[in-house]
């Protein structure tokens, strides 16, 4: 019977020191982080609609923050998080039906998710600023 080595590093402490960087695990944790970020973003969505229901002064007071630099930074982050979570979510739906499990396919779809999410985010902001 083998005994565990004392002071053996456990999983979180293996990152960066002993584990090689993997795109797949990074995209996986980003999916979770963007998901939680989008959950917090629903407060912003509700606040926007509630201010709209409150009348012109109420809406102007809320919209002032959205158009300020910090509001635009927040909205940009939120829009990319949504596009990333959406694209990677489709990747997950593919895995759910048993498609794309080969390592090469998982990497190809991973790169595709990064590129397509950036294109969709840029497209949304191009629409916003073309107006």
């Amino acid at each position: 019977m083998s005994h565990p080595t004392p002071n053996r590093p456990l999983s979180p402490f293996m990152l960066g020191q002993y584990y090689r960087f993997q795109l797949t695990s990074l995209l996986s944790i980003i999916h979770r982080i963007t998901g939680v970020g989008l959950s917090l973003g629903t407060f912003l969505l509700a606040g926007w609609l509630i201010s709209l229901a409150g009348g012109p002064e109420c809406y102007a007071a809320f919209a002032k923050h959205l158009t300020a630099w910090y509001g635009q930074v927040l909205l940009f982050g939120w829009s990319w998080a949504l596009m990333y979570h959406l694209c990677n979510g489709i990747r997950h739906l593919g895995w759910d039906v048993g498609k794309g499990y080969a390592l090469s396919a998982a990497y190809a779809s991973g790169y595709a998710v990064v590129v397509v999410s950036l294109i969709l985010t840029a497209a949304a902001w191009a629409v916003a600023y073309a107006h």
Partner: protein, 126 residues
């Protein structure tokens, strides 16, 4: 040799007595959110720079109000399911876990109902 009873295996509900329900509804809401979220982001992008009256005019259209309510319902339901998994994964102590799971459900219900009520108030007003 399986330790499960034939009845337990046939029901397929497992120790949580819930089977694959959580997994399945998370996927159903995800599929619904693909078109709804894209519609929402690009619609709001087109409203960029618009004032109160322009946004109210947009929400006032029945097709927009209905799609907005569908988006809010699907998004908040999917969000609630996702945050539940995160809590179950990371919150260790039983008391804190149950408290945060309850808070998760209540907060999502409050945000969803408030946002939907706001849409209906604007859509049905005047």
């Amino acid at each position: 040799m399986s330790m499960r009873s034939p009845l337990g295996r046939a029901r397929g509900l497992g120790s949580a007595k819930d089977g694959t329900h959580h997994f399945w509804v998370q996927r159903v809401s995800a599929v619904a959110l693909v078109p709804l979220a894209l519609w929402f982001v690009f619609s709001v992008a087109r409203l960029s720079g618009g004032d109160f009256f322009m946004v109210r005019h947009w929400v006032h259209a029945p097709s927009v109000a209905v799609t907005l309510v569908l988006f809010i319902a699907a998004a908040l339901y999917h969000s609630m399911l996702g945050v539940q998994v995160v809590i179950e994964d990371y919150v260790g102590s039983e008391g804190a876990k149950i408290a945060s799971l309850l808070l998760n459900k209540f907060l999502h219900a409050i945000v969803a109902v408030s946002a939907i009520f706001a849409v209906l108030k604007v859509a049905l007003g005047q």
